[in-house]
Symmetry: C2
Subunit: 367 residues, 2 copies
Amino acid sequence: MKVGLLESLNVELPDREYPILIGKDFLSESISIGKYISGKQVLVITNETIAPLYLEWLINILGKENFRCESLILPDGEEYKNLKHIELIYDKLMALSYDRKATLIALGGGVVGDMTGFAAATYRRGVSFIQIPTTILAQVDSSVGGKTGVNHPLGKNMIGAFYQPRCVLADIGVLDTLEQRQVSAGLAEIIKYGLIADREFFNWLEENIEALCCRDHEKLAYAIKVSCRTKAGIVAEDELEHGIRALLNLGHTFGHAIENVMGYGNWLHGEAVATGTCIAAEMSRKMGFLEQSDLDRIIDLHRRAQLPIESPSGMTSKQYIEAMGEDKKVENGKIRLVLLEKIGKAFVSDDYDDDILYSVLKEVCKE
Amino acid sequence: MKVGLLESLNVELPDREYPILIGKDFLSESISIGKYISGKQVLVITNETIAPLYLEWLINILGKENFRCESLILPDGEEYKNLKHIELIYDKLMALSYDRKATLIALGGGVVGDMTGFAAATYRRGVSFIQIPTTILAQVDSSVGGKTGVNHPLGKNMIGAFYQPRCVLADIGVLDTLEQRQVSAGLAEIIKYGLIADREFFNWLEENIEALCCRDHEKLAYAIKVSCRTKAGIVAEDELEHGIRALLNLGHTFGHAIENVMGYGNWLHGEAVATGTCIAAEMSRKMGFLEQSDLDRIIDLHRRAQLPIESPSGMTSKQYIEAMGEDKKVENGKIRLVLLEKIGKAFVSDDYDDDILYSVLKEVCKE
């Protein structure tokens, strides 16, 4: 497979736009990252896992372009996605006397991206940032849409801001060093885009899921492009999540409950979303929207992607309900769910019958 | 003087607008605060000084309109304007399970407003907020323009966001309980609007400064309206402070240095701005822009407003330079200053002669 820039698309929002560039080993070659950096001061934020792999390489590229390039290495894991670690970023920026023209670069997965974005949104009331996502999940999901933030002890992503990067540089090459479990977790979000908006893409995924699991570069690049394009379209229409953007939360309300109850970091986000999506699909079938054959295909595709499709052993329906009550999607007391009409079409509902929700949860919890 | 709504104006920004309502004892009578509140969940954030005076009154008004109204009382003072106290707000909101339709109300001065605004900007990625400013300073300044945030140990307002309230309710009646020193501090910002944009208003202030010091309600309402209108016009043109909005920082770069060196809270913000403005005026004269007669009028008006016009005893020019280097207005290493061409016309400069800056600072520090 050729090296260089493979795909690109623009995320167009009402008052600004930014590019997502997808390629393989392309950063140093065909793209001048420098043109997305305002000023001369750069802080790369990464984590202990990614730093040994790619930090020196990135600093070299930036050094060649005469930026002042400093770095901050955070511990790796969702459990460090909190205000305390955001303060470390502020402390570093203040110690460096970085000004309002500084640029933060997020080099890492979704956690690094969310934290770097939030620090950029709030340091001196907003400085530039660039995303270099190093997981599939981050490439298709957390790098598009401007959601940034950290967790509160009582709930995930409760503290944050909507803030857009100057650009996203998604290098398929870096996925070669990803753990297999992380590959599957990323595929969960890719499957989601087929489910909510693109039946044809879902069909394509059924044909190519094993190749994706094996990191076929061309197929991954295609799947990431289609996912980003779908998400970019939805975000452009509804940046602040007042309407259709909620569809992106398919599987997430149940999934967040799983992450919350199991402890952040024990289940990967994508794994929890996979199981959450299967629960949402089951509920959609019970309510008479989704046909059994579509439900079977959904569960089967997740299984082939090596994703968990069953609720964590020991987790109770009561735990789901309690944790879901803390979710951001609750409005005026009613839990809003994303459900499926069919593969390729999702909708938001808060007028479902609570009894159906309880019976589905009891079933998946084997109560 | 009549009771009720006296003045109102709209702050018009590219993608939203909000009203500033100025009146006397008007909240419970002529305005339904309820129409600015989305949802049913309200959290009033105030401080230990203001709570005994106005909290019960506000909660009663909201209770009559059937809102769920909770409150959080913070300690009073700039030294508590930090992330630790923002976390108390998050903790309260999470403990109450408040959702994305919650509304935060800032009942207090600039510190309460800045902190409440920042919490609103970042709780669940943004909830509504309303400002009820209880100092002159907050009524003319911090409630207009969307600047929210907290201090970092190494610098003032270093952490924050641009975030607009749903409305600002400025009640002149509450100024009767203000300490005299706070009245003068508020007048410093009012004088600033005359200096940067409105020579005629400066003339009016010269005629009425003693009446303003004595809290003449009608004259205060007029001065607050003119100041808000000037600021609203500037902010509408430059919400994110890329250009002319910087003029609002007249006196602030020197002033922040004073606050920083003297310790936040020892000099009131308005007091530091007053002295900072006199230093900026002196520098403007030394550079040949401002005439001696205008300089004399500026110093005299500040003196009559019972504001400090001399640099804190013992503070050195070196301390100014160091503290100013930490200021937000530094870009790529050069301290940007707001200077005066004449009364009613300010400009931003970063190509002044450093020697003039040093010599002015040495002079004011009596070195």
